[in-house]
Amino acid sequence: MSNFRMLSTSGLLGYGFPEESLRNGLARDPHMIGVDGGSTDPGPHYLGSGKTLNSRRAMKRDIKLMLIGARAHHIPLVIGSCGGAGGEPHLQVVADIVRELAREEKLNFKLALIHSEQDKQWVKDRRAAGKVRALRGVPELADDAIDKAERIVGMMGSEPFMAALDAGADVILAGRSSDPAPWAGGAMRDQCAPAPSWYSGKLLECGATAAWPKGHDCLLVEVNAGGIVVEATNPIRFCTPNSVAAQSLHENPHPHLHQEPGGMLDTTDCTFTAVSDRAVRVEGMQWRPDDVYTVKLEGAQLLGHRAITICGTRDPGLIAQFDSFLESVRENVSTKASAFGVAPEDYRLNIRVYGRDGVMGAREKVKQTLSHELGVVAEVIADDQETANDVLAMARPQLLHVDFPGRLCKEGNMAFPFSPSDISCGPVYRFNVFHVVQLDDPLSIFPIEYESL
């Protein structure tokens, strides 16, 4: 195939996109339509808890329009990293939406589900065999960490998508996938070269982010013999050589080397040429296959449960001595929590101060607080929710009532915007598996299930 066109509807399933952009894209006769479903970006909670990042309602709206369009044009609909984290519960939420839409819209098609959740014993065996290594800044993997992870997903490459397309799947829903992999798989299966196929995936996974002005919208990429041509389908957005080149920098440690399952996409020698005032041709990308095939593993472990309260002060006398004030708060919480049976080692109290260093934390260089207001988010993490709630409920009155020298605001130190003021946030996780595992077969750990709808 000389010209292979792919249409992406946005940077994330459930972000929404204008219907007109989808119509414009479909009018260009794309060979495949899809959207990226997830990322580690929203943090470890979703992988750990099994919850989806975007709402079922928002995802259903996007899938409905894409599914109807895909069936009308007889092209595959492909969604990677379903439900956000791409674990089994996330994949099943999206599969359930697709089954429901098939019934409601009376559509018939072959659905492929590609699973990515991994058996912990298999991960341990690979580790023991020396087939697992840590990514930069991550400790070596231990069996203990594997046990503690709520779930571990493998990040699939392009091969499972090609296999599902070969099997005649009309709709492919995948667990955790490298973001460009669905697109790379679609294009390579159509005999496109790996380099432009992967590069097109890098652009498509972010929707119209490669265009200006940025927005949650559709992007069309054509892969052809010389490279790729990229264009936003909404007439208000323009791809320019600069906007497309800048997208190459996105969410990657290095601007022109992109490690993907099975190889490295090298964009060092890329050229960006305007082919119209709204479309750009990119050429010169290279693909260097790895000697050993690897995929990333991601896992999240439970840290505890969180409770928070939000408040603020506008009192200059208090703002001028905020550190010592917080110290008194901490001491009082410690004494009073111990009195009801919660020792200091049984919880962690973090008091975030917005208007001072709430955004930068310890890396903040501005040491002089100039704000006339300070916002406070007090956070307690403990093993169980009740303990977190109880300690937080003790931190709240300390913030409100702890005395300080020269205090004028004797009725209360903090303005609380809400009643109730204490919020139970539920379980808290951290990424504890972020490693690379060698595979003998790119398909072996990503089983594909087919069903006829």
Partner: protein, 94 residues
């Protein structure tokens, strides 16, 4: 453009990009934007900074370890998208 974002949950990457080649080349030649600058501003070792000039994109990219992994206890910026701000008062010779 000056922006930051997670590059995975354990690193933050900062992009500084220019609208025209002349300005980019001027800044690049000055050597002001370098690994040392990033190390100082973010209180990390120079050896922990992956710094690259990306001529095709008229941009510099610096990737540093996060102080706390995304979403872990004590993290202040889960998406890492406000960490660019420590560079906004750097004087550029343009």
């Amino acid at each position: 453009m000056c922006r930051s974002k997670n590059a995975g949950p354990f690193e933050v990457t900062i992009d500084i990009a220019f609208a025209d080649r002349e300005t980019y080349e001027k800044v690049k030649a000055s050597g002001v934007v370098c690994a040392q600058l990033i190390a100082e501003r973010y209180s990390v070792a120079v050896g922990d900074v992956i710094f690259t000039a990306y001529d095709a994109g008229l941009a510099f990219k610096a990737t540093i370890p996060r102080a706390v992994s995304a979403g872990d206890f004590g993290d202040t910026d889960v998406y890492g998208c406000q960490q660019h701000a420590l560079l906004l008062d750097v004087e550029l010779p343009v």
